[in-house]
Symmetry: C2
Subunit: 358 residues, 2 copies
């Protein structure tokens, strides 16, 4: 199956597809500084909860690379490390402190996506240990970051397989926001279910909510489906009731940015509306996400922090003004769909129900 | 109260605000030809069911003006007629036939809006009579068109009054698409309810669905509210569930393009989604429309013809490409909200329930 180069370590830098330019332009950004990676995350050049987890892990390696950068060499690459070049004068404590500062900076870029903090916590469990040698610590950190990346690919493929079993040949599936390869290390969550079903020979037509304000559905799901030869139809976010009243929709599948212990699910703004509409039409509504998205420390959705984004995302589109300056705008990045509207949570472990620890 | 110059007869031409340019530019178009008026209707330079009724009536006068146009004079103006200048050689039959051809052309511009056909039918009842003199016929047609215009203003004001009684001081109201003065002869339907409540001293905050694909909510409701000093917040169409979960919304009020005898209501795509979401949160959902929008010849919503518009409205925004060329788009102009989701129909006659003839 096809894996997109959503995010990669490349000879001392983080490389990623600038998703804000798609579908018009396909451009790989090479980022040498943590500051630039944070800008890319905040500006949604890279987005999607699982991809942000990998970005967080790689961001810590980038921090080390940036601080102790040496001319004409690098420490971290997708194919391995080059830690012999790491300066002997850097103490374990100095490296640990420096990584810890950057962990906080990276974590604060997006407050809702649990995977970002989850990946950084995994990295901390490594670097916070007692180490004799910074190189050994950095090799272990690299291994952990690569494990997060590789596990994300594996989880996408497993989620795809588990979800694909729910789909039949000829199904129409509706989704909201982008949850394909671009949202992850390269294969996807909700849309990976469609990819996986298609790879097993089922014909599936994807209906993609355009997903205002930033149009990840119109721009990214369509681009990925066209790239894979999967039929895709984009619709305005308000058109799903009309669509379901006209056409048989087999199910809705969306991703998640954070799932509470009771199953309440934070995902891109507009998900809750789609879930309510699906319920009205008896269309099963599934969430597909790696189990790392489940935050058992949070009992219900009302405890999930919701990022508020700039009103200008609603009032403008790429410099085109669509509302007067004096008007206010309501622009939360996410909403929380109550668990009772969700038929099942498709994870790498299977299709689960809350409480997820049983 | 303030009446906008949405559409007017001005010395032999139809003048209208080009609504596609708002809120960035306020421009009055002067249209001398029926063809140009039809283009303006199809391109939504003027839209809104009641405004289209007036456009249909004025369009027939414009047809006469265009065909028998004389240098340096005109036959029809907002302030009266100048029919002495009408050429004596034009026979009653020739004028009738010519008007009838244009009636069909105008009617076909927008298939869903019932008011367009309704206004043209009213005009036909006048011109299809036996007439001795074309000038007398044209004077009667002019009187009928002005009556349609004036009644529309009166109906807006009456609707506003009836609806305003449903609102309390401090209420938050949500709406979809533009239904203010720009959608009518100059005062409005659903949003006129808010205008009317504010004019009686109640503080009301309007939450305006942006209304993709053409953003009439973001562009026009906001512009009208800012113009009147009414607080207005725009939101993406998918954000209403999030909004209702956070904030007390007193009610939703929307307009209508056609209402079936059982109350099923065709309105701008996205209305049905909002109605389903409002139901989930127990928010009363009202339709505000002149009684001419009720089409008793149509039993239920499934018989209402739905205009399909260009996929490019979804896939582009003012020349900015937002989806790849190969992707399809689903773009009906309207959806049909089932009557059971609607709490009441606010008309110039009061707040009604189906069947409307009792």
């Amino acid at each position: 199956m096809k894996i997109l180069p959503t995010i990669a370590l490349k000879k001392g830098a983080v490389e990623l597809i600038d998703q804000t330019l798609l579908p018009v332009e396909y451009k790989i950004l090479r980022l040498n500084r943590v500051e630039d990676l944070c800008e890319a995350i905040k500006a949604l050049r890279i987005r999607g909860a699982p991809a942000l987890g990998v970005a967080g892990a790689y961001g810590l390696l980038l921090a080390v690379e940036e601080k102790w950068r040496q001319h004409d060499t690098w420490y971290f690459d997708a194919d391995g490390t080059n830690l012999d070049a790491f300066p002997a004068i850097a103490t374990v404590e100095a490296v640990q402190q420096y990584i810890d500062i950057n962990a906080k900076i990276l974590r604060d870029t997006r407050p809702t996506a649990v995977n970002l903090g989850w990946a950084i916590d995994r990295m901390r469990k490594i670097y916070a240990r007692v180490w004799d040698d910074p190189k050994a610590m950095l090799q272990a950190l690299y291994n952990e970051a690569q494990a997060i990346y590789n596990e994300d690919i594996e989880m996408s493929l497993a989620m795809g397989r588990h979800g694909a079993a729910l789909l039949n040949d000829g199904d129409n599936v509706i989704t909201h926001c982008n949850t394909g390869g671009l949202a992850t290390s390269g294969y996807g969550t909700a849309v990976a279910v469609v990819f996986s079903a298609v790879e097993t020979g089922k014909r599936v037509h994807l209906y993609a909510d355009e997903t205002r304000p930033l149009l990840q559905g119109a721009r990214l799901n369509t681009w990925e489906c066209v790239d894979r030869g999967i039929p895709v139809t984009v619709l305005c976010d308000g058109a799903s009731a009309s669509l379901m009243s006209e056409k048989k929709i087999a199910c809705a599948i969306v991703g998640a940015d954070r799932i509470a212990a009771n199953g309440d699910t934070a995902n891109k703004i507009g998900t809750y509306n789609l879930a309510i509409v699906a319920k009205r039409f008896g269309v099963p509504f599934y969430v597909a996400a790696p189990s790392s998205t489940i935050d058992t420390a949070i009992a219900t959705g009302s405890d999930i922090p919701i990022e508020q984004r700039s009103p200008d995302e609603v009032k403008q589109y790429r410099g085109v003004i669509v509302a007067p300056e004096e008007a206010e705008a309501y622009n939360p990045a996410f909403d929380v769909t109550p668990h009772e509207l969700i038929a099942g949570w498709i994870t790498e472990k299977g299709v689960l129900q809350p409480p997820f620890d049983r």
